[in-house]
């Protein structure tokens, strides 16, 4: 599969967050951005189809909805 290269302009805080996530998830920057895009597209598609995105507390079963506007 052919791949395209792009330059990403990030603030220092954004770059720090990216690097921290890369270390935590054991991924390269490209790998992490690819995962982020996959997840964002998946969530956007599900929400467009009428789905809702929730976080559920494992203990209390309490749900909090993430608003995707």
């Amino acid at each position: 599969m052919s791949k395209k290269t792009m330059t990403l302009n990030l603030t220092e805080a954004e770059m720090s967050a990216l690097e921290a996530l890369c270390a935590k998830k054991d991924l390269s920057k490209t790998g992490l951005m690819r995962q982020a895009l996959r997840l964002y597209q998946m969530i956007d598609t599900r929400v467009e189809r009428g789905g809702k995105l929730y976080f559920e507390d494992d203990q209390t079963r309490e749900k909090s909805e993430i608003m995707m506007l």
């Binding site: 935590k24 998830k25 054991d26 790998g31 995962q35 895009l37 997840l39 597209q41 998946m42």
Partner: protein
């Protein structure tokens, strides 16, 4: 091995897999095996067309199929984005999750089935999932929920059984995961 599940594969499933499956289910019924019986195939109701339509166009999902002599012999749908590892030493790290894996009914090695036409199709698909995990930078990590009938197969592949969770699949399907070291051994 095709890195897709295309219309040709879905037609093979729709017209060839299902015809063979129907004959097999009739044979089971003739031998007194019921839908609740242990020998009844637990994937008999899977609708591959619906499973592919559900994720069409999504970057986080992909499919693979094994084709021999111009006929689809096995298919697998993968989730590359939304699942994280659960084993202690790889907890929270990304992995390739096997949503569904099935081989053509004429390749089943089951008590009332004819001898399999091809063997090893399941291993070929698992090898592909592991290789994809390495290619993605996930270091070979793969996870899946197994139908009870397939538990022995995944254990033989080197997966670790983390057991069932009452909040997932009604507590019926055990979760399996393979580590980098075990994945390397399998390859």
């Amino acid at each position: 091995m095709l890195d897709t599940i295309g219309e040709r594969q879905l037609l093979d499933w729709q017209f060839q897999w299902r015809r063979t499956l129907e004959g097999y289910l009739r044979r089971l019924a003739d031998n007194g095996v019921t839908r609740q019986g242990l020998d009844w195939p637990q994937s008999w109701h899977w609708d591959w067309r619906a499973k592919i339509d559900e994720v069409r166009g999504l970057l986080g999902h992909t499919g693979y199929s094994v084709v021999c002599r111009d006929v689809t012999q096995g298919m697998m749908r993968l989730d590359l984005a939304s699942r994280m590892a659960r084993l202690d030493d790889q907890m929270g790290k990304p992995l390739v999750y096997v949503d569904y894996l099935e081989i053509a009914p004429w390749n089943w090695n089951e008590p009332y089935a004819d001898p399999p036409l091809y063997r090893g199709i399941g291993q070929v698909l698992i090898r592909t999932a592991i290789q994809r995990s390495f290619d993605e930078g996930f270091h070979g990590r793969v996870g899946l929920h197994s139908l009870p009938q397939a538990v022995t197969f995944y254990e033989r592949c080197g997966f670790i059984n983390l057991g069932t969770n009452p909040n997932e699949y009604r507590g019926l399907l055990p979760y399996f995961e393979i580590t980098t070291e075990r994945a390397r051994t399998f390859l």
